[in-house]
């Protein structure tokens, strides 16, 4: 019954996503996203960060459709540069490099791109089907989520965030604390009183989320690009992008397995695409009759991680929409996008904004289909774009950043903040301090504080109420279990990344 209802909502979502203007938004998002994604070094995270302010002026549904398009487009663009140029835009594209680049060197880059696009599409479909089954279960629980449950959820999100960002736990924790202290500036969420404004009027309104994100993810990338003097050299012609029958036959199994692993692990809040794409790649290598050929250009080695990568990203929308927990950096920025539209993700989102949520879900499907239709024939255009000199791209990106930071509140203060955080981000990346905990704590910190104060009000000043409610206790226990699982998986991924770095893959 519930599933039928959800299916009807999904159909309504498709009806809305297929209207000409929404189709246009999805197409624009996919194209622009691919464009930014193929620029060497710029991955989905920076693509979304740069384009977030552009979508912020749109009406929420259109804006989110475009953002989802940008996300998928940039992921696809990232695969293109991973295969053709050996430059992964994002950690999750590293496994794609392993066999994709050798294939490109052999002149088989085209089929590799084709398989990658097909795998992405298939995984996208899987994600939508998964949402149809999972969403009603979660939406049904929506009203059971009160302040103590949200408080437990925030604890879960922040724990995973600290454990997942890779590298040193102490650094993650300190960056998180820094992000949270930035969130304290401005009017208190419960008191409505200004705090930490030091008498500066501009600080009373607090720091703007978009300007911090633009600074850390877009301006920092530009600075890094200038520093590294990024140039892209293409090896060989990619050849036809349409895979042969033989290619399809050998990659069908890996695609399916990769997609399933990616999807189910992606449901775990905090399990990132980097984790699942490495798992899928390694599993195919173990299952293969010719494991020695992996790393030298096997099509299965592209199909499995690409499918896993995209399935995880699609599945990641489930914890994002239903619990407000982003599993990867680009989803963290999408979370910011949702909040800018005044849509706080959580169990209530499906209940109160069903039309919006299902339109966005349907549009992801549309966006993936568009990537397939639009991008395969255009692969040469994208390849040529990677040769645009950075000296031309950098100022254009900076211009977008400036306009974007200014336009949110029409204030120059936000522009200065963006540039300040651009510089800070550059320093952070140089000394390997992770910025994702900073952003997540900045975004989720006020929610943690708010749910804490609300819980205290409910319990007459006694926080132990969190431990005596079955749902919040379950979430807290799940947080503990997930923390252990994710630390184990993460250690494994770090180990694999190190191995690939040692073998000379250009890992960001």
């Amino acid at each position: 019954m519930l599933i039928i209802e959800t299916f009807q909502l999904l159909l309504a979502g498709f009806a809305s996503a297929l209207t000409p203007e929404h189709l246009l938004m999805a197409a624009l998002g996919a194209l622009i996203g691919t464009f930014v994604g193929v620029l060497p070094g710029l991955g989905p995270t920076s693509a979304i960060a740069i384009l977030l302010p552009v979508t912020a002026v749109l009406e929420p549904t259109q804006g989110m459709i475009m953002l989802a398009g940008i996300y998928y487009g940039a992921m696809y663009g990232g695969s293109t540069t991973a295969i053709l140029l050996n430059i992964p835009g994002e950690l999750s594209s590293v496994p794609t490099c392993l066999d994709g680049y050798p294939l490109a060197k052999k002149g088989r880059g085209g089929p590799a791109l084709g398989i990658s696009a097909l795998a992405s599409f298939g995984a996208g479909v899987l994600g939508v089907i998964g949402l149809v089954f999972f969403a009603p279960i979660l939406a049904d629980q929506a009203l059971k989520f009160g302040p103590p449950e949200y408080f437990a959820l925030m604890i879960l999100a922040l724990t995973l965030m600290v454990s997942l960002s890779g590298g040193s736990l102490v650094k993650s924790f300190l960056m998180g604390a820094f992000g949270y202290s930035l969130a304290l500036v401005g009017l208190g969420p419960s008191s409505g009183m200004p705090r930490f404004d030091y008498g500066v009027p501009a600080l009373v309104g607090g720091f703007d989320m978009i300007s911090i994100i633009i600074g850390l993810f877009a301006i920092t990338e530009v600075l890094k690009g200038i520093d590294e003097k990024r140039t892209a050299t293409l090896i060989g012609k990619p050849g036809s992008v349409y895979p042969k029958k033989e290619d399809l036959r050998v990659s069908a199994g890996p695609m399916l397995r990769g997609g399933i692993i990616g999807f189910f692990l992606g449901l775990l809040p905090g399990c990132s695409a980097a984790i699942t794409s490495f798992l899928a790649y390694d599993m195919e290598k173990k299952l293969s009759k010719h494991p020695e050929k992996f790393g030298q250009g096997t099509i299965e080695g592209v199909a499995a991680p690409e499918a896993a990568n995209n399935a995880t990203s699609s599945a990641g929308f489930i914890p994002l929409f239903s619990l407000g927990i982003p599993s990867s950096p680009p989803l963290a920025i999408l979370l910011a996008g949702l909040m800018i539209y005044g849509l706080t993700p959580g169990p209530v989102l499906f209940e109160q904004n069903a039309g919006f949520v299902w339109t966005v879900i349907a549009s992801m499907f549309v966006g993936n289909a568009m990537l397939l239709v639009l991008n395969l024939p255009m692969v040469w255009v994208w390849v040529k774009l990677t040769r645009v000199p950075y000296g031309i791209m950098a100022p254009i990106i900076l211009m977008f950043c400036t306009i974007g930071a200014y336009s949110v509140r029409n204030s120059m203060f936000d522009v200065w903040v963006a540039f300040l955080f651009g510089g800070l981000g550059y320093v952070f990346s140089k000394y390997k301090w992770p910025v994702v905990p900073l952003v997540l704590c900045f975004i989720l910190g006020p929610l943690l504080e708010e749910s804490f104060i609300q819980t205290m009000a409910m319990g007459s000043g006694d926080l132990s109420i969190v431990l005596f409610r079955p749902l919040s206790l379950t979430i807290l226990l799940a947080a503990g279990a997930l923390l252990i699982i994710s630390m184990m998986l993460n250690r494994r991924t770090q180990q694999r990344l190190k191995e690939e770095r040692d073998r000379g893959v250009d890992v960001a």
Binding site: P147, G192, P194, V348, N410, Q454
Partner: protein, 339 residues
């Protein structure tokens, strides 16, 4: 005169001619602006909504901006500047922007009279603005969970009077209309406000579900804000305030009908300008909004978002807000809301 001098003189003459014509043009246009009052607005007007898009104030402002843009043939652009319970946007429109009539504020009860009463040093006060026109108002509704044990508001009030420490209620902010509505009601029934527990939320979209899910007992919001959860069957409304029933809820009795007198807190929204804005601008807005509130298409829009038309011209509007401030100040001081 040498040729060189002649050339430089020619250059100077050309320069002088250009400058003179520019000056002349400037003078003419300046006269035009001052001479004919009907020239306002001669360019785009920024209409600041101090809340995020989609709320009641925003929806009313957008409907008004739509109407006025057509009426005046100039774009009236709604700009959302949210934060601080409406204080950030209001501070911008009233104190930072020029008072030339090209920055209007979508003013609301929570960021004016209640803010002034609720805070000892409010960032904006009644004196910073010219209350221009009130556009719409909304009745407060008292909502509890759909399967709550109380059958009417009188019975609920009796229970609260006996068990104030058990009453948890959600509000839109520390000094917003929910807090004032509840303080006034508790005062009327003789229950202890200080013993009840306020759960501060971000707004109606966050507050009503908390009551629907049983995490808090009572939510007090405008009728329009409760409507979605009421229609979904998750909450029930025990009473509305005011002396007449809400046109959107004809079956729900008022508090007065149930024997609880004196609930006067209501939600309203309108337009105000920074102090020192030209009188002609104020008159122009008053007249246009008076005409707008007779327009059937506009009234239909208000009805769709469950807001009642409540036109008041500048003088009456100002008087009412002054009286309201005095009343809220007394209420806030008595109940310890003032901080």
């Amino acid at each position: 005169m040498s040729r060189r001098e002649e050339e430089s003189l020619k250059g100077y003459k050309q320069w002088a001619a250009v400058m003179m014509s520019l000056l002349l043009a400037a003078a003419v246009s300046a006269c035009g602006n001052q001479g004919t009052e009907s020239a306002y607005p001669s360019k785009q007007v920024e209409y600041i909504v101090p809340y995020s898009a989609g709320g009641g104030v925003d929806l009313v402002a957008r409907a008004a901006a739509d109407y006025l843009s057509k009426e005046w043939g100039q774009p009236i652009v709604v700009v959302n500047k949210a934060g601080g319970g409406g204080a950030v946007g209001a501070e911008y429109a009233l104190k930072q922007a020029k008072n030339d009539g090209y920055t209007a504020l979508a003013v609301n009860v929570s960021n004016t009279t209640m803010l002034a009463a609720g805070m000892k040093t409010p960032p904006i006060t009644n004196e910073d603005q010219v209350y221009t026109t009130r556009i719409g108002k909304g009745t407060l509704a008292f909502a509890v969970k759909a399967d709550a044990p109380w059958k009417d508001f009188a019975e609920f009030s009796t229970w609260v009077r006996a068990n104030p420490e058990q009453l948890t209620w959600t509000s839109v902010g520390p000094a917003g209309f929910s807090a004032f509505g509840i303080a006034e009601w508790l005062d009327a029934i003789g229950a202890d406000f200080a013993k009840t527990r306020m759960i501060v939320t971000k707004g109606a979209s966050d507050s009503v579900p908390k009551v629907a899910g049983g995490h808090a007992i009572l939510a007090v919001h405008t009728v329009g804000e409760i409507m979605p959860m009421l229609q979904a069957g998750k909450v029930k409304i025990l009473a509305v305030s005011g002396d007449t029933r809400s046109q959107f809820l004809p079956d729900i009795p008022t508090a007065e009908e149930q024997g609880i007198q004196g609930l006067s807190v209501f939600w309203w929204t309108g337009v105000s300008f920074a102090k020192g804005t030209p009188e002609s601008v104020i008159r122009k807005w008053e007249e246009a909004i008076a005409k707008m509130e007779k327009d059937p298409a506009f009234l239909q829009k208000l009805s769709e978002i469950q807001v009642e038309p409540a036109y008041a011209a500048s003088e009456a509007f100002t008087k009412e807000t002054q009286a309201e401030t005095t009343y809220y100040l007394e209420l806030a001081t008595k109940k310890g809301i003032r901080k």
